[in-house]
Structure formats: structure tokens, C-alpha cells
């Protein structure tokens, strides 16, 4: 998968995150787990794993 294809996945995760209520921490954590898993997969296939991981999570709206 290319960076653009991973972007589509990230956008979908972000949409789901945005749709959650702010106090739905369980749902948010579950989605974060999914995002982190996909970010790790992306990082494993990229020449710049740290950047790829951060970028994917940032695109999901997850930083820190």
C-alpha cells in the first residue's frame, strides 16, 4: 500500500473518531488501538518508519 492508500484508511479512522462522543473513552481507545496497529504496519513497510507512524497517527487526529 502507498502513503495515499494509508491516508484513506486514516481518514476512515478519523471519521469514526469524530463521530464518537467526547466522553466515549472506551470507543476512542478501541479506535486508537486500531490506528496504532495500522500505523505499525505502515511503519514496517516504509523507509522512514518513525515518520510514517507519526504521519499516519496524525492523519487519524492522534498525536502525542
Amino acid at each position: 500500500m502507498t502513503g495515499a492508500e494509508y491516508t484513506r484508511v486514516a481518514r476512515k479512522i478519523k471519521e469514526r473518531l469524530d463521530a464518537l462522543d467526547a466522553d466515549n473513552t472506551d470507543g476512542r481507545e478501541a479506535l486508537r488501538d486500531v490506528a496504532v496497529t495500522v500505523a505499525d504496519i505502515y511503519a514496517g513497510t516504509n523507509r522512514m518508519p518513525d515518520t510514517a507512524r507519526r504521519a499516519f497517527l496524525a492523519y487519524c487526529g492522534i498525536t502525542g
Partner: protein, 136 residues
């Protein structure tokens, strides 16, 4: 993810390049060879990590880059508490990103000794006293 235009000379390896399809990661700065007689000049471009080429805008020499940052939606109210929730911070470590109000990466963090972490922005006082509600 915010975006901005950046001169191609200022782009570094690892910069997020924003394309119509999504983000890619700048990998190698290269240039087309141009012609020997000099009529066609070398054109600089960035390879991304997927092997794609990204030429700067011919009019202003810029590329669109992505800026990871907090979104307003990352903040919410803690039920029964005053203040906001910083939903994407890691307790005990400073959040990386931009303050949504000031767009300035100047946040300070302290550990409360629990899963919750207090966060305050040293730039925009409005956001002071944020509480992280995410446990990792």
C-alpha cells in the same frame, strides 16, 4: 492535519507532502537533467518513499506540506469536572503537536500521579488546566 505551502528548498527528508490522494513522505531531493545546451533547465523535485515524484508549483516554487496538530475535536469536557479533556495526550509525557488556539507548540505537562495528566498551554491561557483522559 493542517497544510501549508513551503518552498521546496525548505523541505527536508521526512516532511509530509500533501497530495490530492493523501500524504506521502519526502525521501530524496532530485532534479531532472535538463538539456546540454541549457535551453531546458534542470527541474528540482522530491521523491517520496513510494517512489513518486513531486515537482514544486512552477509559479511560486512551493509544495503543499502537512502539519500534524491537535484538532479542536481532540478536546472535550470531562463529565463532572471543570476544564477540557486532551484526548490524545500520553500521560506523563508532553503532547506533541500544536495548540489549537495559538497554533504554537508550547505546552507544558505535569503528572498528577494518576492516569490523568494535567496540561496547560503556556501561550493561550484559555486552554490552561486541560486534563488528559486517555490511559495507555
Amino acid at each position: 492535519m493542517d497544510t501549508t505551502h513551503a518552498a521546496y528548498e525548505s523541505i527536508k527528508v521526512g516532511t509530509l507532502l500533501q497530495t490530492a490522494g493523501g500524504f506521502v513522505i519526502a525521501d530524496t531531493l532530485s532534479a531532472t537533467p535538463g538539456s546540454r545546451d541549457g535551453r531546458v533547465k534542470p527541474a528540482p523535485f522530491w521523491y517520496d518513499t513510494d517512489g513518486g515524484r513531486h515537482f514544486p508549483n512552477p509559479t511560486d516554487g512551493t509544495l503543499v506540506i502537512g502539519l500534524p496538530g491537535f484538532r479542536v475535536r481532540e478536546y472535550g469536557q470531562v463529565p463532572g469536572r471543570m476544564g477540557h479533556v486532551l484526548l490524545n495526550a500520553v500521560p506523563g509525557s508532553p503532547p506533541q503537536g500544536l495548540c489549537p488556539a495559538s497554533r504554537n507548540a508550547a505546552l507544558t505537562v505535569w503528572s498528577s500521579g494518576k492516569a490523568l495528566t494535567g496540561v496547560s498551554c503556556s501561550v493561550c491561557r484559555r486552554m490552561a488546566g486541560l486534563v488528559c483522559a486517555v490511559r495507555r
